[in-house]
């Protein structure tokens, strides 16, 4: 991200849409200000020269944990559906979404 990346109203609306969060017009100025402060803070990192440094994925020195291909989970339909606002015949029921 470069230094002139600022969150404007369009970007804010797009972020809201992608995150499924309604953006209230009245609060939008405050939100933009907050987000721009956060970005500004993070952008300090751009001052460091990382040209020859590989991205660090972990500091623990561990390898990716791996499991055997064994079925030892599932079969808990009731638990899975427990918090569903609406369910029927073992399915989650949601507002119709067709693409």
């Amino acid at each position: 991200m470069n230094n002139n990346s600022k969150i404007d109203l369009d970007t804010l609306k797009k972020l809201g849409k992608l995150s499924r969060i309604p953006i209230d017009e009245t609060g939008s100025n405050e939100l933009m200000e907050d987000l721009n402060k956060i970005i500004g803070f993070i952008e300090q990192l751009n001052e460091v020269d990382t040209e020859s440094v590989n991205p660090l994925s972990s500091v623990t020195g561990h390898n990716l944990p791996i499991r055997e291909d064994v079925v030892d989970d599932g079969n808990k339909n009731n638990d899975v559906l427990e918090n569903a606002p609406e369910k029927k015949s073992g399915y989650f029921v949601v507002p119709k979404v067709i693409e």
């Binding site: 599932g74 899975v80 073992g90 029921v93 949601v94 067709i98």
Partner: protein, 489 residues
């Protein structure tokens, strides 16, 4: 490259020829017992939300742990597609909202896939080999299933498929016709089935394809492409590409421009249509999944899998040609399914390989198709086909009688030797018996004999036919020919 052959792939429009450029993304479900990041079963057809762990349902605090077998399967597939295996790969989050994706993101691989560039050989429309480039294969999670037809305003969600491992196999844009695309998908499916990394069952959705289609003037600059999502049969893939290419040609020839977009194929109309929610569809905001460390493989892990690879379809085709002397075409037909190869090799033992392949691909496949019977329900055992060909080879029965025997074998599963014995179908090779048949025919057709003797040579075929008829097809045709000639002088 012959120009005429090339042209057969073109679409001819008002302004001249158009070339279709196709790249495919195949989503192949990995054969494993449990899911990519959870211990829930991958079994198809269970009650809704039965094969779901709290990891798959994306409950707070759940952590993904990768399945060793899925890693191996991806490496195996990469090796089979002559591809580079990347010793370092990374899992990323691909963010989007959809009801059958509880996490709100799909765990996939973006910048660093587990498998890099490879290639696969297909047969093009002219029966020639063509090499298609593979761009990459990455591992990712499948999504759940939405049912839209249960309620007028609601969708029903089943998460059984959520989190099952997929390999996304991305081709280079090397395909030039719907037929080539079909041939490519078939070949990929065959290879994956041979090495048992995917069952290739398209009806159950184990193998699906997204097709990127664009058109251009032959050898011109690439056009704008459209992506047709989620095609689950080879027929639909060909149809969708054909329709889409023609649609694009029509737009371009009328002065329009192609919008880069995602489209859906309507199987009932054979048309593609634009997806509604396209504007933000491609803003996936990929980033490395903080729950998963990079996947690092050692040389020994990879070489162990490499040394354990089964015979691949291309190698098998070569071996069948050299070992059994059959044509490349026939070898390709047999190699298409592993069970065909098994059947063929058993029935061709010590027999004329060409004869066996003909019986198998024309007679056997023909009868199976006619009676709508699956190959694994085939009533004729390889031993019996072997025996039948032996009876033809040692001249116990003629090829013509063999067809009748074959139909009885198909209907009864009896051994051909038994059928021949029961029905008395052995070929007559006794000179004196055949002489009797010949005499009978000559006596019953005195006028024809006269015509023949006065120069109407064509009648010879008629006499052969009559003798065969009198012998109920059992007389040895060579002997009939010889004896008839000597008697009709």
């Amino acid at each position: 490259m012959k120009n005429t052959d090339q042209n057969s792939n073109y679409i001819s429009g008002k302004t001249g020829d158009w070339e279709i450029v196709i790249g495919l993304e195949i989503h192949a479900q990995v054969l494993s017992s449990s899911k990519l990041f959870s211990g829930a079963s991958t079994e198809f057809g269970k009650d809704p939300n039965h094969n779901v762990s709290l990891v798959d349902a994306a409950m707070p605090g759940m952590l993904p742990v990768i399945n060793q077998t899925c890693i191996k399967q991806a490496i195996k597939s990469g090796i089979a597609l002559n591809a580079e295996i990347n010793k370092y790969s990374v899992f990323d989050r691909k963010n989007y909202f959809y009801a059958d994706l509880p996490q709100g993101y799909q765990i996939s691989q973006y910048k660093y896939p587990i498998v890099g560039e490879g290639s696969i050989k297909i047969t093009d429309a002219n029966g020639e080999d063509k090499v298609i480039g593979i761009e990459r294969i990455h591992l990712e999670q499948d999504a759940g299933k939405s049912l839209h037809d249960q309620h007028p305003s609601k969708s029903f969600i089943d998460l059984n498929r959520t989190g099952v491992a997929l390999m996304e196999i991305v081709s280079k844009p090397d395909l030039r016709s719907p037929e080539e695309a079909a041939s490519y998908v078939k070949k990929i499916r065959t290879v994956l089935r041979y090495i048992e990394t995917c069952d290739g069952n398209m009806e159950q959705g184990s193998l699906r394809a997204d097709c990127n289609v664009s058109v251009r003037k032959p050898n011109g600059d690439l056009g704008t492409r459209c992506e047709i999502k989620n095609l689950n049969s080879i027929k639909f893939i060909s149809q969708a590409i054909q329709y889409e290419a023609e649609r694009q040609v029509e737009i371009l020839e009328n002065g329009g421009v192609i919008d880069q977009e995602t489209r859906l194929f309507d199987t009932s109309t054979g048309e593609t249509r634009s997806m509604r929610s396209k504007e933000d569809a491609h803003d996936y905001r990929y980033f490395p999944d903080p729950d998963l460390l990079p996947l690092e493989l050692s040389d020994s892990q990879i070489s162990e899998i490499r040394s354990d690879m089964p015979e691949l379809p291309d190698q098998l085709v070569e071996r069948l040609i050299s070992e059994y002397g059959i044509t490349k075409y026939d070898a390709n037909v047999i190699v298409e399914e592993k069970e065909y190869v098994h059947y063929y090799e058993n029935s061709a033992k010590n027999r004329d390989g060409k004869l066996v392949v003909n019986w198998m691909t024309s007679e056997l496949f023909g009868l199976l198709k006619k009676n709508n019977i699956q190959f694994n329900q085939n009533p004729i055992s390889p031993n019996h086909l072997n025996e039948l060909v032996e009876l033809i080879e040692n001249k116990t029965i003629s090829g013509k009688i063999a067809k009748d025997v074959f139909e009885i074998m198909f209907a009864t599963s009896k051994s051909p030797k038994m059928i021949v014995k029961e029905k008395g179908l052995e070929q007559v090779t006794d000179d004196s018996v055949i002489e009797d048949f010949v005499d009978q025919v000559i006596n019953e057709n005195k006028d024809k004999v006269k015509e023949y003797l006065s120069g109407k040579d064509k009648l010879f075929g008629f006499f052969i036919g009559q003798v065969m008829k009198v012998s109920q097809g059992k007389a040895n045709p060579g002997l009939v020919n010889k004896i008839l000639k000597s008697k009709l002088k």
